[in-house]
Amino acid sequence: MTPNSAVRQWRKPHFIASPWLRWGLILGVAAYLSWALATLPFDWERISQGIPRAARIFGGGFPPSFERYELLFSGFKESFQIALLATLLGVLLSIPFAVMAARNIAPRPIYLLGRAVIIVSRSFHPVIVAILFVKAVGFGPLAGILTLTLYSIGFVGKLLAEEIEEIDWGQVEAMRAVGASYLSTLIYAVFPQILPRQIGLSMYQLDSNLRASAVVGIVGAGGIGGTLMNAFGRYDYDFAFAILLVIIAVILVSEGVSGWVRRRVW
């Protein structure tokens, strides 16, 4: 149209519009990476032996050996028992803690207490809690059950408390208007509303506890983790890989089952 005008240019606008911020971010990331890599203690000599060691481990691990299937079976049975008992205990106990930690139905001091319990029990990885319980109550599945109960209270309690904070308040108001007591209001107006969520979370937690029960055994809290740790410690890599394969299979099955149940809860 206008033959004399300059060639029109178009370039894609950058993802981050301000060039200062963009270059600042790139520089920042580069600086962070170099700082982190420079300060972290890497033992390069030991790392360089990694490849032959990996070859030896995987060579020793294949084919996986199921010879000691009895040990494998008893380990898994214990893991399953730990997960089951911890889930039941944890889910039951999570209900009062969730009620305590819901801002809309708990008085202020109780709310703060409930929140504090949930925050602390969620901050610690189950393995750390397991170590402490092993020191307090000795080696074995008891420590595992206590650990995973606490873990379940933290997780289920938090999500349930959030669910309670989002309920339809009109139903609570209606129960107050008929003169229902606090407990009756809870079971009529609050619990029916959170029930589907509660069932879904319990199934999820059972699955999650089964996974975690495989690792708390590493620090001596019972279950298949201890068996795995021993196999690794004694360089029985073929048995260790067999355990790993079964762990993967069990977790896939439990994930499938828990997903199926959760889909069926409307």
Partner: protein
């Protein structure tokens, strides 16, 4: 007004069949419970003694010992480094895997199943077990920790990203294909913009989880605060253990605060 007479004035919450179902489910749960309680290898006197023991452990921890604070802070920084570097590495490894394991972008079926296998294997093996393996290979230290966290994160990020890719709107993809664009351009123009928010959300979420996970790596020798924690527990230095536990709570809370800020700013 009475349309149909109500046959009886009896009302029970559940009918006969529902009651039977409820009772049988309850019975089943109780049976499993009884089996688990009786069969599990618990030494019952320890159970009754547990509250006393836990209380006495708590007493031995008080007051927290701040003398090794400097060492603890250094280890904390190392823990954060492990989590961050591993998350960074995960981005590069997880994205191609999520791409081949999403049904609508995978090049062929073999790639799809390979991708899914990697994701499942990565997710099913816990970070600690990955750490155990990498400590055996590369020796104790932060590298084993970084790799352990990375290998566990790949499955998490890859699965969620794969789902995000599968849930994208097909229409822009069709429009791009209709223009005769190459496969790579289609991905760049039609898919990447759609999954960008999900990508940031998943990475931020995983970084938060990784902070928690990296606090325990040291228990199997893979670096971070866990090394000091294990040392303190082994030497029965309970006041130091208490300090470390407090530090971990602070770190996790700080991590949560940072991620919530990031979420608000980025998403």
């Amino acid at each position: 007004m009475v349309t149909e007479p109500v046959s009886s004035r009896v009302w029970i919450r559940y009918n006969r069949r529902e009651r039977w179902t409820r009772w049988s489910i309850m019975l089943l749960v109780c049976a499993v419970l009884v089996w688990a309680v009786r069969d599990v290898d618990i030494f019952w006197p320890w159970v009754w003694d547990a509250p006393v023991q836990i209380h006495s452990l708590g007493e031995r921890m008080w007051p927290p010992d701040l003398r090794r604070l400097e060492e603890i802070v250094t280890a904390m920084v190392e823990t954060v480094h492990i989590a961050t570097l591993a998350t960074f590495l995960t981005i590069f490894l997880a994205l191609p895997i999520s791409w081949i394991s999403a049904q609508n972008t995978t090049p062929n079926r073999a790639c799809l199943w390979l991708g899914r296998f990697i994701l499942v294997a990565s997710r099913s093996v816990n970070t600690i077990i990955w750490a155990l393996l990498f400590v055996a290979i590369f020796g104790p230290g932060v590298l084993a920790g970084i790799l352990a966290i990375t290998f566990r994160s790949i499955g998490f990020v890859g699965k969620l990203m794969g789902e995000a890719i599968e849930e994208i709107d097909r229409k822009p993809v069709e429009a791009m294909e209709a223009t005769g664009a190459s496969r790579a351009s289609v991905v760049l123009y039609a898919i990447v913009p759609q999954v960008m928010p999900a990508f940031f959300a998943v990475i931020i979420l995983r970084w938060d989880i990784n902070i928690r996970e990296s606090t325990v790596l040291g228990l199997v020798g893979a670096g971070g605060i866990g090394v000091i924690l294990q040392g303190a527990i082994d030497t029965f230095a309970w006041p130091t253990v208490a300090t470390i536990l407090c530090a971990i709570v602070l770190l996790v809370l700080a991590g949560e605060a940072v991620t919530s800020v990031l979420r608000r700013r980025v998403l």
